[in-house]
């Protein structure tokens, strides 16, 4: 197996360099055409905000990974990038790396499940561009399988690992069914938008946005089919909402404790969740002293995030077991590829020898007797070949070393003298007899 590849990722390069080599779908398409012409028979390119990976089967026997880097940098020149910013992989290590990427344990945030979808898309694009052969297709299927198994069989992707998602996790520990709850997001910046999107995805019954700049609130509200609450009239509308996320860049508190107190009075004590994900804080932390008011700020939410990350890290050995399982399966399959031609040649050789001998007696015995001998010959060949073929397959499937399968195939061919010229010679000798 000659799979070879390069990877630039969060471990090898700073964000500026990763951004600089990032490839859009159009760029991947263009580069694929170049790679196909220049160095690879088949392969694929995966490019996300955190990594760019190029893998493939080289046209020539010995390809230096630096040539792939050269092709990439020729296509997308980047200043100050060095060879050391790329990891290089070959054969087993390449397969293992791909499995690690798809399972999320090589991601910046361990267990990131988005990478599996991105890997799937990368393989799909490669197939659409007719850049995949049998082995790469099988590799793609196994890689996706590893990613799916990691998600299904381990907890590597469990738990919130972003502050806004951790906030949603806390909300879900208070309310059983978010579809019956209303939510207000104060602040329409990046963090506010992320929080609003999470709440929208969770299906809150009513979502509202409030922002000092009304146009921004309107823009986000129309995107998420939300209402807009006037920033100036926040205090009088607060009681209408069960969940309040605040993520503004205001210097002082946007919501004071007495505002919350009033809202609670109007809500007749019904629980309210206040998620202050702004720095500096937007909501007076003294609000948490009120009965049925659940207040969280960035610090408390970060506790959840770090706990979840730690738990994900603890799942890595389980994912590695899955990777090892699938590597064994993949290479077992791959090794059988090498013995298939050998099995075919041996079988053909025996069948040819059988029919040759049969033709010699065809006119010397009755038709009935001939049929019996023919049947016996066929069964005899079958029985003679059964054990060697089964054994050869077994050796190929259990051997993780490519050389194992190859040497056994070679041994069989040598024993029966089965390369093209010898085979002809053998046949000739047999005819003379």
């Amino acid at each position: 197996m000659n799979l070879i590849g390069i990877s630039i990722n969060h471990r090898t390069a700073p964000i500026e360099l990763r951004e600089a080599v990032h490839l859009s779908t159009d760029e991947i398409t263009e580069l694929t055409i170049i790679l196909k012409e220049e160095i690879f028979t088949d392969g694929f390119i995966l490019s996300t905000c955190n990594r760019t990976e190029i893998f493939g089967y080289p046209k020539k026997n010995f390809l230096n990974a630096s040539e792939i880097i050269d092709q990439l940098l020729k296509f997308k020149p980047v200043k100050n990038i060095a060879n050391s910013n790329f990891n290089k992989y070959f054969n087993c290590s390449a397969v293992k790396h791909l499995f690690m990427v798809a399972s999320g344990i090589d991601s910046l945030i361990i267990g990131d499940s988005q990478i599996l979808g991105q890997t799937k898309e990368a393989f799909q694009l490669s197939e659409d561009l007719s850049f995949t052969g049998t082995i790469l297709k099988r590799l793609a299927d196994t890689t996706i399988k590893v990613g799916r198994r990691a998600i299904k069989e381990t907890n590597v992707s469990e738990g919130a690992v972003s502050v806004s998602y951790a906030a949603v996790q806390v909300v879900e520990k208070i309310f059983a069914d978010l579809s019956t709850k209303s939510a207000l997001v104060i602040g329409a910046g990046e963090t506010g938008e992320l929080a609003a999107t999470h709440l929208f995805d969770k299906g809150v019954s009513r979502l509202a946005i409030s922002n000092r700049t009304l146009s921004k609130a309107n823009a986000l509200a129309s995107k998420l089919k939300a209402d807009v609450v006037s920033f100036e009239r926040l205090a009088e509308n607060l009681h209408q909402f069960d969940i309040i996320f605040s993520a503004t860049s205001a210097d002082g508190f946007v919501i004071q404790q007495d505002v919350v107190k009033n809202a609670m009075r109007k809500r007749r004590g019904s629980p309210i969740v206040l998620m202050d994900i702004a720095v500096p804080r937007d909501i007076d932390p003294a609000s948490r002293e009120l009965e049925n008011v659940f207040y969280n700020d960035i610090d408390s939410l970060n506790i959840i995030v770090s706990q979840n990350l730690k738990k994900r890290e603890e799942e890595i050995p389980l994912v590695q077991n899955i990777i090892m399982d699938e590597m064994i399966n993949f290479f077992s399959w791959f090794n059988t590829l090498d013995v298939v031609p050998a099995i075919k040649i041996v079988r053909e050789f025996f069948e040819e020898m059988g029919s040759d001998e049969l033709s010699k007696i065809k006119n010397k015995i009755s038709e009935d007797d001939y049929l019996k001998v023919e049947d016996m010959t066929r069964r005899l060949i079958g029985r003679l070949l059964h054990n060697p073929i089964v054994k050869l397959r077994e050796l190929a499937e259990t051997g993780t070393n490519l050389q194992d399968a190859a040497s056994h195939s070679l041994m069989i061919k040598t024993l029966f003298n089965l390369n093209g010229a010898d085979k002809t010679k053998l046949n000739e000798n047999s005819n003379e007899d």
Binding site: E153, N155, V170, E172, K173, I174, F175, A176, D177, R268, G269, S270, P271, R288, E291, N292, F294, N296, S300, I303, I304, Q307
Partner: protein, 274 residues
């Protein structure tokens, strides 16, 4: 039959203990394999327990309610069975470890001290008494479960308020769900206790010539029933929720425990059979 009864008497605490351990491991580790198999453990324990109770009833010609330790085994069964049904219908599986511990304790106490009683007072052979006791015990099992959910609610409430996100935060269902489970358990307990009181009131004059409606056990049970009735009324009609209603039911359960202790241990009652 007697050998089977003796075997099950020894095996039942082990069955419940095994079930409890599986629920505990699932709560702690949350393994996907245990998540589904623990329910099978509980179901099988209940099946064996039911068979054990029926065997005792037929073998000794009376419902096993004639002494404290027979009552304990029924209590263990009632609690586990009520939890099983609640888990089955609500599909909330993370709280069993807190409930099933009671079944383990009651069954161990029962298995250690239960005796093979053939001779019992004639009054204890009445099928009406069987229904009366069963419904009363199931009612108390419901109220016990409500109390457990109430305590879990308080634990989770405090942890969320204080931002201490440990195992309880992670493994328990939401506050709203715990409140719901608490309320369902109270409703079940209230209805069954109501049935027990109703049957008791009808059957009492027939069974006991020296009965009195002012008997401490009757009065205390009625008091508990009324307290829970008020709680249910406040929640449904007045709109109490959250901590307030949970605390009210916890106070109700404390009254239930106290009244049971006082009426059983301190007061003299005709309503005592052993």
């Amino acid at each position: 039959m007697l050998e089977t009864i003796h075997f099950l008497n020894t095996a039942l605490p082990l069955f419940y203990l095994a079930t409890f351990i599986v629920y505990f491991l699932d709560f702690k580790k949350q393994k996907k394999t245990l998540h589904n198999s623990k329910r099978i453990f509980l179901f099988l324990s209940l099946l064996f327990h039911l068979f054990y109770l029926l065997s005792r009833t037929f073998e000794f010609s009376h419902v096993p309610i004639t002494n404290k330790f027979e009552i304990f085994t029924i209590l263990a069964f009632s609690i586990a069975c009520s939890y099983f049904l609640l888990e089955l219908f609500s599909d909330i599986r993370g709280t069993g470890v807190f409930i099933l511990g009671f079944s383990v304790l009651f069954q161990i106490a029962s298995s250690l001290f239960i005796e093979d009683l053939i001779e019992v007072r004639e009054v204890l052979r009445s099928p009406l008494l069987g229904i009366h006791v069963f419904s009363a015990l199931l009612g108390f099992a419901g109220l016990t479960m409500a109390a457990v959910y109430g305590v879990l609610f308080q634990l989770l409430y405090k942890r969320i308020k204080l931002n201490t996100f440990g195992i309880f935060f992670e493994k328990l269902p939401s506050l709203e769900t715990l409140e719901k489970l608490n309320f369902y358990s109270v409703i079940i307990g209230f209805i069954l206790l109501g049935i027990a009181i109703g049957i008791g009131v009808i059957w009492l004059p027939v069974a006991f010539p020296d009965y009195s409606y002012l008997d401490p056990k009757l009065v205390s049970t009625l008091l508990v029933w009324i307290v829970f009735g008020i709680g249910i009324f406040m929640k449904i009609v007045i709109g109490w929720y959250g901590k307030k209603v949970i605390n009210f039911f916890l106070v109700g359960y404390t009254i239930a425990l106290l009244s049971m202790f006082l009426s059983n241990v301190l007061a003299k009652s005709f309503h005592s059979f052993y």
